[in-house]
Amino acid sequence: MNKTSLLVKKENRWFETTIEFVIKSVASLSIILIFLIFLFVFRESFSLFQSKNSTVSTQVYSAPKVYNPESGTLKVKEALKKESSKTSITVWDTFFDSVWQPVGDNPKYGVLPLLIGTLKVTLIALLIGAPLGILAAICTSFFISAKWRNIIKPAIELLASMPSVVIGFFCLIIIASLTKDLFGLDLRLNALVGGIGLAIAIIPIIFTITDDALQTVPKTLREASLALGATEWQTAFKVMLPAATPGVFSAVLLGFGRAFGETMIALMATGNAALISMNPAGSVRTLAATIGAEMGEVIWGSDHYGILFLLGSILFLISFGINIVLEFYIKTRLLQKIQGKVG
């Protein structure tokens, strides 16, 4: 064979280079999409920052620059306050009010009841869903045989693929009547029913991630604990669970994010009245449900339209913030924890 054949000019591999470039470009699409989502959801609310009778439009278009992943929500809120003085009176004057009444001659866009309502159902969902998900994960990780584990784990994961509109429907028809009879409530649809629905949605998430976290705790830890004479349940609750805390915390955080932004269940099961109250049996209206209910009827380009996109931006930023916490805080904590105990 020709001895110089090893030396082939690099250009002969142009196809490889091209294809690698294409693949890399497509892969970067995910990064671009995250930016586009924020940019274009926020962009539709620009009209709010535009004064209807004056000249601040150049300043207005600088709005996206306040976007800062580190402290996203805060900055935007500051920006809103700053801009509000300059812009159309009706929207911003009522923005921090306690009344959400977007249609009519005198629309009111108070987000407070929506925010409180969202937090209320989310809290109920977590109070129900987190213990169930975490305890179920402990059970399948430590207290049952592999055979049962292989049945129960997929079953709970299957629950995750239940469409939220179906869960919403179930709450609307079954849970609502059940809770009404059980607790003698006045309203069929309320925060409790919505919270139960959201709990059904987040249990599989919390379960799966807690289970993963428990599985990654080194087996040696368990064996050591058992060898020291601790019982199975002591080992599970006092050794394994604490060792998996960061994972459990991220499970709860993701569950929070899912419940906070869930639309269909909230829309179908909470009653959708934008009231501020602490009563779990009262009706609430969440941020996401508001968008879902009102986007359909709104006039595109109106103040109301812009406000709904602003609510969307808030939901986006909260979910993004959660992801940042998960990425930078919990992952390092988890690593430290595991390495610290073993190494």
Partner: protein
């Protein structure tokens, strides 16, 4: 245990706590499984009587209060198929990049993973807003102003934009599951191919991809299952409650099973009367999403068993 051994009250206490600790976890499992079974059982019992050949092949009549749901089945199917065609290639290529080309510790690949995780966490309603803001108002309207300034053809809710929106929403599902499949292809196979003088892309194309087809399939099925069930992102990106005929152009609107169920159960004038239809619709929707997910879970567990055994 030794019968003569007297257990102290503290030990007894501990035993009691232990019993309750274990019992509480089992109780949790029972509650969760009970919920799942109750839901499924309920849907089957209430839904089956409403199912019939006519129900799945006929159009609705009398303002959706009677008749079938064929247009909704058709619309949902068309929607997720278009979504799959848009999303699965992008997701697969991204997974290929992450697994085959990128140095896993590089900033760029960590950034991609971070973006994928962020995408997975974005509430579905926000994707709907993105569909309106980007696909309809920016992209569609942009196309219109370029090619047909006087008319609105693309700058309006349509099945193509709903599919694109869902493709973005399900992208993380595809990426994560294909990535898993690619990772399960043994390094030794790649090395054997490279050692024979195959280029990197030849190795990917001829060895890695054929050996991860199941994974790509699983990813697609999971994405379809997820996409078919999502209602929030499409409410204002093209889904309608009723329409004459079926969608036959990419910019047509469409009927959708989930949206149909939502409107029937919450907004129709006579909710009580259509309850059998609602349950039957739920069952059809579940068959579409649930059965797909179940298939994916089974394929996946087979796959992991193969790898372990």
């Amino acid at each position: 245990m030794d019968a003569t051994n007297i257990t102290s009250p503290i030990q007894q206490n501990k035993k009691l706590i232990g019993f309750f600790a274990v019992a509480s976890t089992i109780f949790a499992v029972v509650v969760v499984l009970g919920l799942l079974l109750t839901m499924l059982g309920n849907f089957v019992i209430e839904g089956v009587p409403g199912l019939s050949w006519d129900f799945i092949t006929q159009a609705p009549r009398n303002n959706n209060q009677e008749g079938g749901i064929f247009p909704a089945i058709y619309g949902t199917t068309l929607l997720v198929l278009t979504m799959t065609m848009l999303g699965v290639p992008i997701g697969t290529i991204t997974a290929i990049y992450l697994n085959e080309y990128a140095n896993p510790n590089s900033f760029f690949s960590r950034l991609i993973l971070f973006a994928v995780n962020s995408l997975a966490g974005v509430p579905s309603i926000v994707f709907g807003l993105f569909g309106v803001g980007f696909f309809i108002q920016f992209f569609g309207a942009g196309l219109d102003s370029l090619f047909n300034p006087s008319k609105v053809i693309w700058g309006q809710p349509a099945i193509i934009w709903a599919s694109a929106t869902l493709a973005v929403l399900t992208l993380p599902v595809v990426i994560i599951s294909v990535n898993e499949a690619l990772r399960s292809v043994p390094v030794s196979l790649r090395e054997a191919s490279l050692a024979l003088g195959a280029t990197k892309f030849q190795t990917i194309w001829k060895i890695v991809l054929p050996n991860s087809l199941t994974g790509i399939l699983t990813g697609s099925i999971l994405a379809i299952g997820r996409g078919a069930g999502e209602v929030a992102p499409i409410i204002f990106v093209g889904a309608v409650y009723s329409m004459p005929g079926l969608p036959n152009k990419l910019n047509d609107q469409f009927m959708h099973l989930g949206y149909h169920l939502f409107v029937l159960s919450t907004q129709s004038p006579n909710v009580e009367k259509t309850i059998p239809i609602q349950f039957a619709t739920t069952l059809v929707l579940l068959l579409l999403t649930f059965v797909l997910s179940l298939t994916a879970i089974i394929i996946r567990s087979r796959l992991t068993k193969q790898l372990q055994g």
